[in-house]
């Protein structure tokens, strides 16, 4: 059945996953849970960020698309619906992918190395990256994927039972389930579990500022440093993402950045150099930047995987630009996965893929030269 196939594919891409204990409560089979006009069979909660307009329309104030949505229609994310002039989220507590992952998989390399992150996602996304690796959940509507009924407290209880010290809103796009992210963060903090988010950063300022203080860390995909790329490959815009990064820096939540390098589209040395210079100049040299390897998928299947040489060139450019922590991703075993002390050059955390081989950090500092290494270490 299509639903099961879609869910299983998502499970299959999750990498190092441990079985969830006990099994989570699944919703009834999704067949005929309807669509736009019939979405009333989905559990719905009034959205937190929108305004009402004339004639029953609403304007979403969650992401920069600012969708104006007529009655019985949904925003571009596909998970928010106008019902008679009130805007609802259809995905609060409706997780369609749930796994326990190593935190390195997000990737966070400066957040509790080697710890488990209880990771979750709902359906939907506010952009449409042609290279999306999780398109089978991000590009679908909630009624089109199988899902778990997973309210925040249940999720956090499950995280604790599974030995996770962190939660991670990830896989799809947490911006579209931002109320759920917020409520999970509140529950996680109360339970002594650190909430994290993996996002495209395409969000308006108000919802971002309201939720950021609840988070321990956020990873943002900076998909390119050209607005043209954002418009053509992502159906988004660059500037709002840069604004998000500036706000995160200002608020002081731990930030890591991922740049997926795609051959011919965003991997030119000039663009990488500009990107690194902007990060160093605007966010500071201590923000980790991960250059990761593209693999053909979804609508971008006519390009080859990123050559390792391109990644290594970006790695070098980043360090030349003054960034202290530049990493390479999707190249297991490459030295670019290791955390190196910017002071003495010693290897502090040796990694292979998502595994920690050795962690020499001493209370967040280099054991050799005692230089403090920024991050969330305890």
């Amino acid at each position: 059945m299509t639903m099961d196939r879609r869910r299983l594919v998502v499970l299959g891409t999750a990498g190092a996953v441990s079985a969830l204990q006990p099994p989570l409560p699944r919703l009834a089979a999704a067949v005929d849970r309807g669509s736009s006009a019939a979405g009333d069979e989905l559990p719905a909660r009034e959205a937190s960020w929108y305004k009402k307009l004339a004639e029953g329309r609403v304007e979403c104030e969650l992401c920069p698309k600012s969708c104006r949505v007529a009655d019985m229609e949904r925003g571009t994310c596909g998970v928010r619906e106008n019902r008679g002039g009130t805007y609802y989220t259809l995905v609060h507590s409706l997780a369609c992918a749930v796994h326990v992952d190593p935190i390195e998989k997000k990737p966070f390399f400066h957040v509790l190395p080697g710890e488990r992150a209880f990771s979750f996602s709902t359906a939907g996304c506010n952009v449409e990256c042609k290279f999306c690796q999780n398109w089978e959940l991000s590009q679908f509507r909630p009624e089109q994927v199988d899902a778990y009924d997973l309210p925040p407290k249940t999720l956090v209880d499950a995280a604790r039972r599974n030995g996770a010290r962190l939660t991670a809103a990830t896989y799809g796009e947490p911006v579209v389930f931002w109320e759920y992210v917020r409520d999970v963060a509140v529950a996680a903090n109360a339970a002594g579990i650190r909430p994290t988010v993996v996002s495209n950063g395409y969000i308006q300022e108000r919802p971002l500022r309201e939720v950021l203080p609840l988070l321990s860390a956020i990873k943002v995909d900076l998909k390119a440093f050209r607005d043209e790329f954002y418009r053509e490959q992502v159906r988004g815009e660059l500037e709002p993402v840069l604004k998000t990064l500036r706000i995160i820096k200002e608020v002081g939540v731990w930030l890591e950045i991922v740049v997926l390098l795609i051959p011919t589209l965003n991997d030119s040395p000039a663009e990488v150099r500009e990107l690194c210079a902007w990060v160093e100049g605007t966010l500071g040299p201590d923000v980790p930047v991960h250059f990761t390897r593209f693999h053909p998928t979804y609508r971008l299947t006519d390009l080859p995987p990123t050559p390792v040489a391109s990644l290594e060139r970006a790695w070098e450019i980043g360090r030349e630009a003054g960034l202290n922590h530049v990493y390479l991703g999707n190249v297991p075993g490459h030295p670019g996965e290791n955390t190196v002390c910017p002071g003495c050059g010693g290897i502090l955390i040796r990694r292979v893929g998502f595994r920690i081989i050795k962690n020499r950090l001493d209370n967040g500092s280099c054991p050799d030269c005692h230089r403090p290494i920024p991050g969330v270490w305890s």
Binding site: D32, S36, D71, T76, Q144, R299
Partner: protein
């Protein structure tokens, strides 16, 4: 609507659209007995503004009379639920025809056409060899008009992604995908009751009795007609044009440029019976 009235209207519309003496002759010209005919309805607005059952069944009867086995006539919408809400009975196998929601049975991989990349309903991509769009005549908050062409948004998994810029060129990109372009034989519009404002949802104060059923082998011309009717009603009510209201109907010009049909009012041949 009385079934006999529906049959007369559908018969006349089909005959006029193909230029035959009868609707049955038109159906015979459009469909072969080897076809599996998919009739896509637009039931988003519920029973008050969806294709009425009597008209759909009149069309089914004509297609069947043309030699298509009734088990190979599939009336469909996005979900069983929407069909039920519009007054249809779900019939997995028939008789007297199949009536089902696609219910998320999509192709496993997306297929691109212009700006869109979507998984198409397998009914459209695989099962059916001939397609009919059977929509309504209504205003749409973003595209201006929702009639026969936008109805195909209901055959893809991600329509919510394609509402920017008045749905232009996305409506056209969906309609010109080979799954649809190569199979589309007919567009029929239930204009017995139409809506000139507040769509796509049903808005009682904005509906009006147009009292017409339109059919065309040209999907662009059918939507052009719907647009004209909506504008005419808006003018009668002293309302601004769709363009002045901020939702110009851009997609029709794009459709014409793409070779899908005729969007020039001067070239629209209106046959009324």
């Amino acid at each position: 609507m009385e079934p006999e009235t529906a049959h007369r209207a559908m018969d006349a519309a089909l005959a006029a659209s193909v230029g035959t003496e009868t609707g049955q002759a038109a159906a015979a010209a459009l469909f072969s007995r080897h076809d599996t005919v998919g009739i896509k309805l637009n039931c988003l607005a519920g029973k008050m503004l969806s294709p009425r059952v009597e008209l759909v069944e009149a069309l089914v009867d004509l297609v069947a009379a043309a030699g298509v086995d009734r088990r190979r006539i599939i009336v469909f919408e996005r979900s069983d639920r929407e069909l039920r809400r519009a007054g249809f009975t779900i019939r997995e196998q028939g008789p007297p025809y199949r009536c089902i929601g696609t219910n998320n049975d999509f192709d496993p991989l997306p297929s691109s056409s212009g700006e869109i990349g979507s998984c198409f309903a397998r009914l459209v991509s695989t099962t059916c060899t001939a397609l009919v769009s059977l929509g309504v005549v209504k205003d749409h908050d973003l595209s201006g008009v929702s009639a026969g062409m936008k109805n195909w948004y209901g055959a893809i998994h991600n329509p919510n992604k394609y509402h920017d810029n008045g749905c232009d060129p996305y409506i056209v990109d969906v309609a010109r995908h080979p799954f649809i372009r190569d199979k589309l034989r007919l567009t029929v519009l239930d204009g017995v009751v139409a809506q000139c404002h507040g769509g796509p949802a049903y808005r009682p104060g904005a509906t009006f009795e147009l009292g017409k059923v339109a059919a065309s082998t040209d999907p662009v011309a059918a939507d052009l007609w719907a647009w004209r009717e909506i504008e005419a009603e808006r003018a009668r009510r002293g309302m601004p044009t769709l363009e002045a209201a901020g939702r110009p109907v851009r997609y029709l010009a794009t459709a014409a440029k793409s070779g899908l049909g005729v969007a020039d009012p001067e070239k629209l041949l209106l046959v009324t019976t």
